[in-house]
Each structure stands twice: as C-alpha cells, then as structure tokens.
Symmetry: C2
Subunit: 228 residues, 2 copies
Amino acid sequence: MDGRPSGGDVAIAVIGGTGHQGFGLAVRWGAAGLAVAIGSRSPQRAEAAAARAREIVGRVRGTPPPVVGYDNIEAARLAPVVVVTVPAGAHAATLEALAPAVGGKVLVDCTVPLDRNPAYAVQLPEGSAAQAAQRILGPGTPVVGAFHTVPASLLQDLARPVDCDVLVCGDDREAKARVVELARAIGARAVDVGTLRQAHTLERLTALLIGVGRRTGRHELGVRITGL
Amino acid sequence: MDGRPSGGDVAIAVIGGTGHQGFGLAVRWGAAGLAVAIGSRSPQRAEAAAARAREIVGRVRGTPPPVVGYDNIEAARLAPVVVVTVPAGAHAATLEALAPAVGGKVLVDCTVPLDRNPAYAVQLPEGSAAQAAQRILGPGTPVVGAFHTVPASLLQDLARPVDCDVLVCGDDREAKARVVELARAIGARAVDVGTLRQAHTLERLTALLIGVGRRTGRHELGVRITGL
C-alpha cells in the first residue's frame, strides 16, 4: 500500500544511488517506468533518495514511479541488473560486499577512479575500476562498463534530453545488450565500444572531461561520437 | 616560378604527409591559405602528394595553394610548427631523426600507437607516443598532442565540414594556443583537454574509435564534447 514494488518487479538496483550519478540514473529509469531499487549503506538515506526521485518523476509524469530504497546488499539481491555508482575509494570494498548477492547477474560499473587532490588525476595507472570489479566477482558475473561520461545534473533534469552518448564496454555480449537497452531507456544513444579493456579508456576519458569542466566552468560535459 | 613558397613563408610542416592523416591535414591547411611543407622520407613522393593537394584545393578554391614537398628533415627545417603523422612503428626513429631540425619549435604529435594485429590494441601500456616524443626532443621543444581523432577521409573531402572536435593537450600554453589556431584553420572546434599526460587518453580514445569503426563499418568516426 506504500507503493513499494515487490522484489520480483525490480528491474535495476543502483548501488550508491544516493550519490549524484546514481541518483540521476535512478530518476531517468524511474521516469521510463522501470522499477528501481536505490541502494545505500544506510537504508534510511536510500529511502529518502527514493522519495526524492518519486517526487521529481511524479512532477513530470503525474504518477510517482516505482523507485524504492534499501541497503546496498538488499537492493542488489532484488534486481537482475546491478549498477555500481560509488566513489572510487569505496569501490573495492563495495564490490567485495556485493559479491555474494550478485552472482550470475549483470554488474554495471560506472566508477571513475579519481584522485581529487590535487588535480583529478586517475589513480590506476593500469587497468580500470571495471576490470578490478570483474576480478573481484569472477567470471560468473559479467561486468559491463557504462554511463561514466553522462553528466549527473543532466540526468536529474528531466526537462532536458540526454544529448550525449552512453559508451558501453564489456566482454559478455548478452550483458552488454541489456545495458544498451538501459541506456536507451534514459533517452541516450548507446554505443558499444568493445571489450571490458576499453573501460580503461572510458574511465580516463571521464577524468579528462572533469578536468575540462573545471577549467571552463562547464560541468555538464559529455561525449558524442560523430560519423555514426 | 613553380609556385613553391620560399622557406620563410612555410607555416606548417607535415611529417609523414603522404599518409592519409597527414595528407588530409595538409589539404585543409592549404585550403585555409596556409603554406604547408609536406614531408616524406622520399622527396619525390612528398612532391607528388603536394601536387595532389594543390589539385584538390585548386578545384575548390580556383587557385592552387602553397603546398610543396620535401624530405622530412628539410620540411621540418622550414616551418615553425612541425606536425608528425607517421605510423606508430616509425615514430621513435622519426623523432630521433627530426630532433636536430626542430629545436625550439612547436612539435605536434598525432600518432596513435596501434597494434594492427590482431585487434587494434594499443601497444604502449604506459604513457603515450606524444610523451615519448617529448622525452626524445627534450624540454626545449614543446610537444602538443592533437588531431588524433579527426578522420583522414573527412579531412580530404573539402566539400564537408569538419563536424568533430580537435582535442588538444600539452604542457606549454603558448604552443597549445598555436595548435588551437591551426585546428580552427581546418574548420573544427578545438578543445584544450589539459596537459601532455592526456595524450595517453587521446591516443587510446582513437584506438577505441577505430575499433568501433571496424565493427560498424563506419570509418569517419570522430568525437564531440557535448555541453561546452
């Protein structure tokens, strides 16, 4: 009676969904009518974010969407697709905690390994956060890298179209195809950019965009591939 | 009397200018009225490419542009800005040969370190071709990375606008500003993406685009930053 969807209905869990990027994705997926479980370490904060998402989407669509809050592990248990949007410093610990709950599911990693001090330099000289996630979860849980370069504030503003591409990489074709569908659900064009190795490039590209944003004062930078 | 500009007039040398990327840049700069020295290991091939560029530009502008051919070293000697567009395998040897001719000039590196067999993987796990160029040339010759992601065939077709961005990186502000001007001369938007370290990202991004091009059959892929 409180509008919370049952577990079987949840389409996507957004781990770290109280953060800017995860919250923006939850809002867009909610606006598309998908049932979203927002995860946080604190179920109270998760539910507060979910209430905010229901309000934002409800203002535009008339009816609040099926977005609800849980602690991260419970959110991951409920959904077939689990999207990780946590700060780089929490990445490894989050993945290790999630591992028992996500076996065989599609794990989408949006993490950008950034060193905020002094200059948004990428911390990982080799590999990528997404490849690290794949190593932690093992081969039974396909990891897909996506949504890194889509600006959070643009996602949260339903009045505007998502006019940049979602660049998607991964080693598992079927998992990647599902993430392409989720990208289309937020109104973006999805581009398959190759295997999970390309996460290295996507994560660094996002750091590059953040640097350009700092220097230009434009903080909704994205990327579009021309000629496609 | 043969239309060859004198050395003092040359604005840009394009080393490896008989290749697709270098030739395309020479055509665009020639069309912008800039005097270009096309360099090649063979001065005969360089002059043949220059004649082709004069013909392409002449058809559009009415008058052939001041594009001429020289061997690589002579071309580099003539110009204040030297653009290196050679295959990755020839990169280090070319830079070493050029070093005595380019001291104090602006060196623009467009090289993408690719391994064509089997899958366009980037060969350099660390750093970038542009950073390698800077190490070879030393601190007196500022290296700027740029033009990697601009498709060669689009550059060569003057009937079409260059609708992608030129992403420019480097440690020397003045050198970078000159390259931004050269990017505008080909009709593109130039975006300063940071220090020379970002060449790593630009080179890998180009490899990513080439991979997408192979899978989609689209071979004029570029990048545009949205939200700027």
